[in-house]
Symmetry: C2
Subunit: 240 residues, 2 copies
DNA sequence: TGTTGACTTTAACGTTACGTTAGGACTTAT
DNA sequence: ATAAGTCCTAACGTAACGTTAAAGTCAACA
């Protein structure tokens, strides 16, 4: 196989293959006449390995070491690397936290009463707070609650606007483009304001919209049937 | 202030300050005679800002844009950046997951019975599973459980060995070097095998060792007083 | 067989945010 | 005044390729 074929097959650039050859990471057979590189099946599977490690965030230098060493070293390298990744993730968590604080301070004051703030968006107060704690743990709920408390008037208005827009669409097909566009707005809003929610919490939230009638009632403040509509739209949205 | 003073004060290299000057990010006053750079207090606070954004992962190019623009853009930039960070964190989570699977497959089979595996290490089965769910949430507990299930015979043996070593030391001072070395082994083991535990879970686990007598009984299988000893050693370990 | 178009090669500069010498000017303390 | 300490600019090095650029090779069609 020639460079371009390989490149297209595995989804890397020709330059990348050249580079790997240059640094001695993957050196295919070179036709002495034409100078063309020719990759065997073996080269390909080695390339797969390389890309695998790369996806895990290894540097090419380390990949080169790891790939040409006995098995035990590979395991050790994997474990070490995982440790580094986990540390990095912790640092990222801290960074995200700092960012969120900064964003809050940029946004300025929050002048609505807390009751006002919790209207329409609710699950960290009232009947189901305890249930939420059971389902998702203390720390998560506290964090979510703190974030809702810090919401700006502006954000609150934005959220209500999204709810109203959704309510106005609630008699249409939840899979329609308009409905999906609106649910995407809502999805983006949640993503921007409550990033600490795990994917499971998102899913669970969607489920509860229809399964738990207390949720249903709360959401249907904005229009009867809204909870059901949103749930269906969310499922559709998540499916693609 | 001259370069070196500034550098030492804020913890960056002189080269970094030169670089920021080169690219027009932070250009202090330059004495026309000596050519020396002189940083004012204003320069310093600007530098703080720069470093802050840098810590958040902004490129110098973006910092330059953000710092010289109206407020609204800054907020937008912050929000955009947080989004990117969150996406990156998700990708990292996936990478860590893949790494863990790979590590498992490297380690090979697991031939002990599940009862065997849960002996000595327990909190995802038996009386307190339900309690764990309440405290830390469903997903976390399930994840932890799955990881315990996948433990290799080897790992299991390793863990038991650590427990036995700790048990043999349990009548000594928990703050002694020997005790701390042993608790570090245990800490590293947990870190290597149950990376999905949050710091709070770690702390909580330590607390429960003495506060919850069901835990105490389970750990004390390896020797009476072990739970208390471990808890004290953990607190000491965490404090430094 | 000649030519054309698709593909290949090496070479080398560009990117990011500095680190790291290197050689020389300026300042400060003794 | 002289040495020690600090400052300057200039320029190459790093990681993992991207991006031209100039030139050789291959397959097919006329």
């Amino acid at each position: 196989m020639k460079v371009n074929e390989v490149a297209k097959l595995v989804g890397v650039s020709v330059r990348t293959l050249h580079h790997y050859d240059e640094i001695g990471l993957l050196s295919p057979f070179k036709d002495p006449d034409s100078g063309y590189r020719h990759y065997t099946d073996e080269d390909l599977s080695l390339l797969q390995q390389i890309l695998f490690f790369k996806e895990l965030g290894f540097s090419l230098k380390k990949i080169k070491e790891v790939i040409h060493n006995p098995e035990y070293d590979q395991l050790e390298a994997l474990q070490l690397h995982r440790k580094l990744l986990i540390e990095k993730r912790h640092r990222m968590d801290e960074m995200i936290g700092t960012l969120e604080q900064t964003i809050e301070s940029f946004k300025g004051g929050n002048h609505m009463s807390n009751e006002e703030k919790f209207k329409g968006f609710d699950f960290s107060q009232n009947p189901y707070e305890e249930e939420a704690r059971e389902r998702w743990g203390n720390a998560r709920v506290e964090e979510a609650k703190a974030q809702v408390m810090k919401m700006t008037d502006n954000d609150q208005e934005l959220m209500n606007a999204i709810y109203r827009k959704l309510a106005s669409l609630r008699h249409e097909d939840p899979t329609s483009d308009a409905a999906q566009a609106a649910i995407k707005e809502w999805y983006d809003f949640l993503n921007n304001h409550f990033a600490t929610y795990t994917p499971e919490m998102f899913q669970g939230l969607g489920m509860m919209y229809v399964q738990d009638e207390r949720f249903t009632r709360n959401i249907d403040q904005f229009g009867e049937g809204l909870a059901k509509f949103m749930s269906e739209a969310m499922i559709e949205f998540g499916a693609k």
